[in-house]
């Protein structure tokens, strides 16, 4: 972690009312952006030693939380929440076994297992597919546990309470009885560009998710430090991408696990995992790719 991003993490941790912070330019910052839950603090921010003395822009926003939808669920509001026959297009609602929540199965992807055999499956979040029962083989259903298994939990990166997190991600193997349950297409998006990209402020993006379906927006910031509520604990995430919707909210509870892609070419950019009514947070996809040696090339 660079000194500048270390400062951001210290700033967020040492100011209880601060929920997120980022620089306008992570390499050559000229402005510091600070999110607070409620009004900006009356007293001066507790700034880490040697942090650059920059103008501060405060954003008064709701706290950031993971974006799962808990039971009881309303009747399906769109085709991202209804049952699909195979091959299932992702960007749809999924529910793990023994869970009282749903999230989004974000995107088809592939990786190599311990025997170097290529596997094909679903990318989503740890808190959507693994939380509560992090066991390889845990059934993942679509749209809920009342329908047949879509995939089996394969690998995950647990979120730690103490320390810095970079990703909240999990993958599930979608091969059932010799065939794959999933389509190479994502609902309302179509085929993904297998070449991942990198977010930068101003980048036009879209996502396909369980609750708000297809929404498009803009990258607001990169390299952000964010405090995210997980219900019974709060976790710190560093080096995160921040997005906002163009004319509507970019995400809502139930959209956790969605893949954020570029509007122009559908290149994977980030894994959506948290947000509030104003802003959405995504793990840069390069961190997810590195963790699981992931590919979006399906053949």
């Amino acid at each position: 972690m660079s000194i500048l991003s270390l400062h951001l993490a210290q700033l967020v941790r040492s100011n209880p009312t601060v929920t997120a912070a980022w620089y306008d330019d992570p390499q050559r910052p000229t402005t510091l952006h600070v999110c607070t839950a409620g009004n900006p603090p009356h007293q001066a921010l507790n700034l880490p030693n040697q942090m650059p003395d920059l103008p501060v822009i405060f954003h008064s926003v709701d706290p950031f939380n993971t974006l799962i939808e808990r039971h009881p669920l309303p009747s399906p509001q769109n085709n991202h929440q209804t049952c699909q026959d195979e091959p299932v297009k992702l960007g749809c609602q999924v529910q793990p076994a023994n869970a009282n929540w749903v999230g989004t199965g974000g995107a088809p992807c592939s990786w190599k297992d311990a025997t170097a055999k290529r596997r094909y499956g679903i990318l989503s979040n740890w808190h959507v597919m693994a939380n509560g029962q992090p066991e390889a083989g845990r059934p993942i259903h679509q749209p809920d546990t009342g329908r047949p298994m879509l995939a089996m939990l394969s690998n995950w990166s647990p979120v730690v309470r103490d320390g810095d997190n970079k990703i909240d991600a999990a993958i599930a193997d979608a091969q059932i009885n010799g065939l794959h349950t999933i389509s190479p297409d994502v609902l309302d998006v179509g085929k993904l560009n297998p070449d991942p990209g990198k977010a930068n402020p101003g980048l036009a993006v879209c996502k396909s998710g369980r609750t708000t379906a297809l929404t498009c927006g803009t990258c607001v910031a990169v390299g952000a430090t964010v405090q995210v509520g997980y219900g019974d604990f709060t976790a710190t995430f560093v080096d995160q991408d921040v997005f906002e919707g163009d004319n509507e909210s970019f995400s809502a509870p139930g959209d956790s696990g969605s893949l954020i892609v570029t509007q122009a070419s559908h290149s994977p950019i980030a894994l959506l995992f948290a947000g509030n009514s104003q802003l959405t947070i995504g793990n840069p996809i390069r961190h997810v790719i590195d963790r699981f040696n992931l590919s979006f090339l399906l053949n």
């Binding site: 195979e86 010799g178 065939l179 399906l298």
Partner: protein, 63 residues
């Protein structure tokens, strides 16, 4: 009653035919049932560029 099942309707067909199975009432319908998945797997294989065609989306009912 004949027994005629296709275990994996992809490139490797496994047929389980009992003696005197009626081809018209058993094997042919089974092959027709498997045909879409067979064609899908075949197309994935030949259009997969440098890939091996290992990604074989099924077309089974779930709902």
């Amino acid at each position: 009653m004949c027994k005629c099942t296709i275990q994996s309707p992809a490139l490797n067909l496994e047929l389980d035919l009992k003696p005197r199975a009626d081809l018209l009432t058993c094997l042919v319908p089974a092959l027709l049932t498997a045909m879409p998945a067979f064609i899908q797997a075949y197309m994935a294989c030949i259009t997969g560029g440098s890939g091996s065609g290992n990604f074989k989306p099924g077309d089974r009912p779930r709902c």
